[in-house]
Symmetry: C2
Amino acid sequence: MIIDALQYANWSPKIFRQMREGGVDAVHVTIAYHENFREMVLNIERWNRWFEDYSDLICHARSGDDVRAAKASGRTAILFGFQNCSPIEDDIGLVEIVHTLGARFMQLSYNNQSLLATGCYESEDPGITRMGRQVIAEMNRVGLVIDMSHSAERSTLEAIEISGRPIAITHANPSCWHPALRNKSDSVLKALGESGGMIGFSLYPHHLKDKSDCSLESFCEMVARAAEIMGVAQLGIGSDLCQDHPDSVVEWMRVGRWTKEIDYGEGSRNDVGFPPMPSWFRDNRDFGKVEAGLRAVGFDAAEVAAIMGGNWLNFFDRSFGPQVQQAEAQPREVAE
Amino acid sequence: MIIDALQYANWSPKIFRQMREGGVDAVHVTIAYHENFREMVLNIERWNRWFEDYSDLICHARSGDDVRAAKASGRTAILFGFQNCSPIEDDIGLVEIVHTLGARFMQLSYNNQSLLATGCYESEDPGITRMGRQVIAEMNRVGLVIDMSHSAERSTLEAIEISGRPIAITHANPSCWHPALRNKSDSVLKALGESGGMIGFSLYPHHLKDKSDCSLESFCEMVARAAEIMGVAQLGIGSDLCQDHPDSVVEWMRVGRWTKEIDYGEGSRNDVGFPPMPSWFRDNRDFGKVEAGLRAVGFDAAEVAAIMGGNWLNFFDRSFGPQVQQAEAQPREVAE
């Protein structure tokens, strides 16, 4: 079972065929960066057309069992998620609506301050907001996973603490390996692991030591170090593969509509576009190389299988349905 | 099994309790008259709150099996539908989206010309439009039932003809019994019956002979006459109960945002608001009286059970899932 917990490609039948060629059983795809609810619905409509037109290659998945069924039918399961909370606007009722439409992950913030939490590029992080606490409880209730990949440290630690169910960091790496603002401290990794949460290791060059020149061995040694901090059962892959996009798309991801100036995000004035991928991970066809690399640094076959997809499948089984023990959820009262 | 194929009430726990008191197992509720997609979503959000707050009385249903499960748990199943095509705007992709959100019936037009078909109050009826043919095929594909309750004669006959699956007239009566513009000709009833479609008999006074003074016996004799035309298996109830609304709501239903003038619809200058219900059908508590009335005009117990809910349940089983035989659907090519 190979599961990739984040991709945002310029989707095409070519990429869907590469997913099959690489034996990828499920991919969590981003369907919103800055889109409001109505715009996000248009993105689902585009996916629905792809599901109809390429029904031999891909299908929509809402649960772990849907992923198993996709694998059994020789197709790649597609799970929807948002990298920002913009699709729920200022309306907690939209949490259930987007879950009904198939969303299974939602980041509480994307680089900037949101209505719910702080992003990793803000200078101040006041933590989870009043609305953020309410939305976390509602996400817990319906089975929409809290994703803190692009959120700031305090907000992330508070989300882990407040959430009644384990959360995810679908695509990031330990900052002790590569100190990017997007990567995560040992404190975050420990708290995430202890709470039963998951991290998906990113293959996006800005998150890698030596960026595009990062070696497979260095990447896999980083995974081994994270296993010591969090335990193997909390680890997965979240490649952040952004295949075939023109550079205008990384600008949309970084700038949205929130500024008239250019913001370089993880890049810089001299490094504006998407960085080249490491040679050993071009696209969906190269997950086998990561598997081999993990074996080479000492993980056994069962551990590699868990990291490559088994752990995410378990997490899906536990996370996407309605909350069983309501009592564990946060209280709904709004503080005065 | 008691199923009501149309209500639009000013929903409240009082009404939900009356549904339980009347032993009503399922109700198709209207969630859009003139609402666009985004506004319709807000109406679903309101229902979601009711499902949470009154989970002992009601639950959302998407299938015949959901209705059976609701009955088994002592609750009333709520099915969503639109009395107009306004929620899909001009976008065929929204057909699948609204089905995912739970919509199971959609009228192709409401009194006026729509993008898809003609309403029953227009003076000309050019039939199903170009977009209408495409949307019918898409509704067939996903399992969204075509409802022609408020549509004009030619459009209705063409919808029956074009649709690859049986359609419904959820709430209307034979015009041979009471010649209202909203009621249906024998030609429509015959074509509907021969195609496996369903009619739900309305208890809205403007659709009744002698209006609010209509007798139970007259209503039930009308049902018996319809059974001769269409066969018992195609008959159900669609009460059109509009309980507890202020008269401003009937104005919204009739006028929406399409005119600045007042349109009296089925009423008149001297009869502006909601008409009083017949004495023998106040609300959800009175379905038992209809059952007794049907027995009194000669239907046997099995026939009464079929008309009161069994036929709708069969129809739900056949209609709400994806189309099995794609070959029977209309071709997708757009004529030049």
